[in-house]
Subunit: 469 residues, 4 copies
């Protein structure tokens, strides 16, 4: 009788701290043993010449959210987790979106219902808080935190979502009391409206104008403000989808002051620039997102910040719409107008290959840093560690066998989300996930999904280890 | 028949650019001639051993404003300009305070009426804009700017005054169109409310807690935000009463980016610290103001910033209440509560002696810098130059004979405003104004006022020279 | 027959990446297995309630160096490694000091001879290069690097040691070719001489004057210069014993530019300040070292820099002299003169407890950061990883059982080096190493050394992983 | 009988502090009067529509220095001052170059002899100190300072000139004692040698490689070091020919710390970039100078720094060689090698028109800033104020009538130095000096020199007003 369910043998096992060759033995979905000569398993996987990485954790992805303005998000939990698994991601943390005037618990319940029976990998939820009432903060949040919802996403822009400074302070104070992490979308809403109105008044509504609606100071200001509010309340914060060198300058400055300020970025922010919005027709709609991708100097700065730990989380900000058809990006056509295109792009499956290739492959970040930003740090910052995010005894056996040498040209037909395009069409990467295990189950191999919807489980989150340097 | 009305002979004449010994001849209220041997005047003043400075310009003083919460400002235009003149200041620029829902013109007319027949030195008005309606910005402001009202004061805090970011952008855009300077009181309102509520809830309402309602990040954040909004609109701004090293850090940073960001400070911010709020009884009420005085490091930083031109305006922020009697600072007694004391202090008369003594006298700034911050820069930044702010041919003969060696202990009985105290009681200074001329008239000598209310004239302001480096 | 030599059971195993409870099994001096239920060993150690840390690596310690000016270092490899082991340190990297005019190989051979038969834990050598001749750099270094000497220490000050900029560039270029790490003692030599001469000329030779010989700009300038020279050559550098907020400011700035600049600090730089040099008599001689300990602001900055990864190595800079007797610190008495006291202090045994207590215990750094700076980073930066610096399959079984709750008052009689004092006399710490294993051998328990000199082995170093973020 | 020798009527008179329309009356070579209706003069000049500026002061120009390596400087005091006068410059401060081993006084005497009978405008001398012996610093400097030589130029690079840090400290300390200003050429000599050797070894000796010999860190490092040495000695310093954004970053940083650090730049550093060194043939030799011109970002930063007072002096660094003939730039031909071309270019005549046009004309700096950097600040920083550098009663009547509207295409044939080219050939500028007065004498008009060599006088310099903010 086999002692283990699975042994992965001879791979180069990488965590945020270590890179060593060893065997990994799995029992009952958890890592039971690491050793130099492990055997006795139902399944033996030969990982020689491969990397063995903790399954990726994508903590910024919009799944099965409600449509708006006629736009309809492309993915449900089935398609999104299929794509995640094929891309080497074994945990997702999408948002449970509170409707204004409604209890937080409604949101949580609603998104549980949407995930139920669909997910193929594990998931937790951030509370997307649009209405931080006394009831929500004083009554609901403590209970929800105890139930495993320990992160809150708030917005400084977007109608129906944006909170004012007093609301943000209240959220931060409540987060401090309940030990939650607050994720902040930092853009100055008034500036975006002011600049958009100027462009619209001038009839400058083509997609090429989109970056002009939210230039550097728009993100930088809100970043500084978010930092200051966190400083006043004395609570850690996490800035999501940091896109620009000027925002990074603020985060660096905060870190140098000793503040607990964390930062997330996404592949699109080291890939695209303002120039991409000058592409003809609807092409630019494919990478239109908020904040807008910037410039080469920002790309360099993001890599430096990732390498130095100033940015500590890599997410996809997956927010997929189809280009064509009802509810798609062209829905308000026939002409593309920058303010009538749904922002967002698919990215849950390409996140890890793109950043491994451009980062580890090009020598911009080390392998342990790649693991840190794609798995370990998110786990620690959102209370999933050590269950997720590492390869250690007792952790869930979420493992990715990564072929560092496989070269792949990204194209739509390879991908598993429900969108009808990828903004990375034609991009060539080196390094690709060849097997993805979730709690010891082989869920995807070479782009083939091997399990049924519903096997993914909800993960209640503990208090984040924000203070863990 | 005398050729000149007045010749000031043999003084050390200091401007923002030069310090030379020469004679100054005045005719019809203006400086007619500078020379090495001027004579032939009705009045010859021997200035040997004295400095001859441009009359001070105090561009931040609250005069004859409406009371609130039962507090009654102490000064009208008669008492305020008496104090100004005795302190070496020959031009004041108080605020014409717009009431919400009322036209700007009402405010301007109302304050003209309050000044009429009272002022003994010249005055202009900033528009204190509390309601930037389309009407105010689109219709009224262009006309008012043409009439000589070319500066706008806005607040980021205070009930009834504070503007939100979108309103600020609108004001900045209107200022850009009309060539006006926007002065900004930069403190984060939500943080002040949050921190105040925490203290009040904890019963910590003694004056010693006052600085805790608005610590460094509160001013720093709003300063950064104001800079960003000005950057988005591409218009110069001026931060008033900069108090802290952290706010200065932001201004420096903006300057290094090439932004046109100006900064004002006041004597209280290089004099008092948070420790002064621990004085017993009502003593701390005397120097309670917003933002709160800070710490020694901020004092040092303010001096460095003045010396280096990073802060370019010295004002008093004179806002005088009596301590005793109805409408006084103790009005809501018997116990002092930090949120029931009117913020503000008298300072219009002591502004120049305090800063000359601590600045020029202690070697922290040069004499030309003192003239620049107390007269020349305000004149340039608010459209009064070259009529005011310098000693040049054609300029108004607003002159102060300054005895650099006279030592004076500041005490209430020396002063001429209508308050019943000075926060600087007992402070010893070296350097004192001994004669003050306004348009060639000797208006004050050794603390004695020599003219009647009503001789002061309104000064229509031209477009500020914000771009003049 | 037992399968393992040793199993450490139930401890909280901490590495630079992970903190998890598991068992650690050792075979033939190496870590054979990590698991949740390991048994079958000759020796089972119950580690429940204890931390299990990688043995500390002290990469800056002066052992058995030649005397100078009559001073005689207190420690040989026996006493130093005894002290190291009792303090939780299982690897030391002292210096092989090249004499000017002599080959590097002579130095290496000489220090091997001094270590031979004495060390109880493992050791490697940095080449202390005082004479970077063409022969040394062009011929010897490549061969030495191949033999396992892959780090070079150079000095910017000290007679007989200091290199000029051209020599430093040559060293850096040679290090780049051979893949060596260059450690730099960064102080401006000319400034120290200038300031010292001024003090000596003024008869100000008491120990209280010592910090005046090397104030902030002395270290800051040399730090900036070292960074610039490394930038010109395009090679990583490591600044040793960083003591001041101004030096850290430079390192931060370099990191933000994306330069590979590493920094080391020591316990004395978060413990003592300039005020300690005002202690009476010879007391100040006990903590006299170069650069001098600074001020509270620098302490805070060092902790922030350690937490943020800006400083990445913790060493002792152990350089022990006795106070009394021939060759001791008082050797040039009877009166203490700051320039006639040997700089340096013992610290090899107290390094880890002091920093665990003040850092992890006080919440200034996380446990993984403590492991990173005390073991993992030094291993990576000096080519000892993964053999040393972590607890991973295949690594040497250098383990410390750490009792996080034990409170100890540091006093001379507890310590094992050959000095006759500790500068930390009377300091109370919480957290103490209770068992130290080197390659699976229990070498020290509760301050008792359990092995004989000579068991420690030389460690040839591989190419440092400076680029590993 | 005329009361004045000269009255300049109706011009727009600009100083560093003021810009006003008035008349300027001159008597005995000095400004006797400023007024609104001055008459009664031997000569009346109608300046309506013109600017009246203080004569320019060029405090960095190499005149009649010895040749070296076969190169022969093109200009003597006659040709240089002719060019200066025609370009609106009425005071020059070239260098009295000490030969190593020789007394300073020899240098001063020698350069006096070279100037004698030749100059047409006034001149002072900086001591170019190459040998700061005890004799030079302790004996000679105090006497020379008393005689009017109050500035010292030192080099951190160049064979035969460069001083090491200890020598620099000694110079700074001596300057502090004698009240002298120390000008520093800040480039790291060792880096230049290291990089040059690498290029030469690789056979990369074409002019396009020249900028690679001294990239940003070379100037930045030396700038930081110079600042630190000045800080240690507590004495003002002035960095000459600041060329790069990275050097400016250091100066800004020093200013923010409150250090008295001054900076000079030159037209070439806002005109040329590294790309100009790729011009074919010998073309790049025309603008080859040390430090090398940089990049557009540095140009922008220089303008921002000039506008903000971070750089306070504009000089030409005139160092003219002919291209052709013996001693010319091609002397070591036939092929151009970057290390065999004399660095330096002519610029004494084009300094003011180039910077007026690009600065004031393009709105990058104000008119008063132009006067400040071209005349007032140099006068103050080198002890010539108020005799020179302003238009004030008692100052020398050094005046330039400037036509702000005249457009000129710079070409060799317009210029008056002895070189055979201008690096600005073909550059179109707007704004040109039409009359230049030196002590009331019209010395040049529209490019025609109206006086004879020998009328220029030596100017003994007083103690610089470095502290005058």
């Amino acid at each position: 009788m086999a002692r283990f369910d699975l042994v992965v043998k001879g791979g180069r096992v990488a965590t945020a701290g270590d890179v060593v060759v060893c065997d990994v033995a799995v029992k009952d979905g958890r890592i039971a043993r690491l050793g130099d000569d492990l055997n006795g398993a139902d399944r033996i996987v030969d990982a020689r010449g491969r990397l063995v990485l903790p399954g990726g954790i994508d903590t910024h992805c919009h799944i099965a959210e409600d449509g708006w303005m006629g736009f309809v998000p492309a993915d449900d939990f089935a398609s999104a987790t299929r794509a995640a698994a094929c891309g080497g991601t074994t945990t997702i943390v999408p948002f449970a979106h509170q409707q204004r005037g409604k209890p937080l618990r409604h949101a949580v319940d609603a998104y549980h219902a949407r995930a139920e029976g669909k997910a193929i990998v594990d998931y937790a939820f951030h509370i997307l808080m649009s209405d931080p009432s006394d009831q929500a903060l004083g009554q609901e949040l403590p209970a929800l935190a105890a139930d495993g919802y320990t992160s809150i996403k708030i917005y400084m822009t977007y109608e129906g979502l944006k909170l004012d400074d007093r609301q943000i302070l209240n959220v931060l104070a409540a987060a401090r009391r309940s030990g939650c992490m607050v994720m902040i979308h930092a853009e100055n809403d008034a500036c975006i409206h002011y600049l958009t109105a100027q462009l619209v008044d001038a009839g400058q509504t083509g997609l090429a104008n989109f970056p002009l609606t939210a230039p550097h100071p728009v993100e930088r200001e809100a970043t500084h403000r978010a930092i200051a509010l966190g400083e006043v309340v004395d609570v850690p914060i996490l800035l999501v989808h940091v896109s620009s060198r000027e925002a990074i300058e603020q985060i660096r400055w905060a870190r140098a002051k000793g503040l607990s300020v964390h930062g997330e970025t996404c592949p699109q922010y080291v890939t695209f620039t303002g120039a991409d919005f000058e592409r003809p027709g609807w092409e630019a709609a494919k990478m239109l997102c908020m904040p807008p991708p910037r410039d080469r100097a920002s790309h360099d700065e993001i890599w430096t910040a990732l390498a130095g730990g100033v940015l500590d989380v890599l997410s996809s900000d997956h927010s997929a719409y189809r280009m064509e058809g009802p509810g798609g990006k062209k829905h308000h056509g026939p002409e593309p107008h920058f303010h009538r295109v749904a922002p967002g792009m698919p990215g849950i499956e390409t996140r890890m290959p793109l950043m491994f290739s451009a980062g580890v492959g090009q020598g911009r970040i080390g392998l342990s840093t790649f693991v840190a930003i794609s798995a370990a740090n998110p786990a620690k910052l959102y209370g999933l560690y050590p269950r997720k995010g590492t390869i250690a005894v007792g952790s869930d056996a979420d493992l990715v066998l990564w072929d560092p040498d496989r070269e792949v040209t990204i194209t739509r037909s390879l991908l598993h989300d429900n969108s009808d395009y990828t903004p990375y069409e034609g991009t060539r990467v080196k390094g690709w996930p060849v097997m993805t295990f979730s709690r010891g189950d082989l869920v995807a191999r070479d782009g083939e999904v091997l399990v049924q919807p519903g096997r993914g489980r909800f993960l209640p989150c503990a208090r984040p280890l924000a203070a863990q340097a």
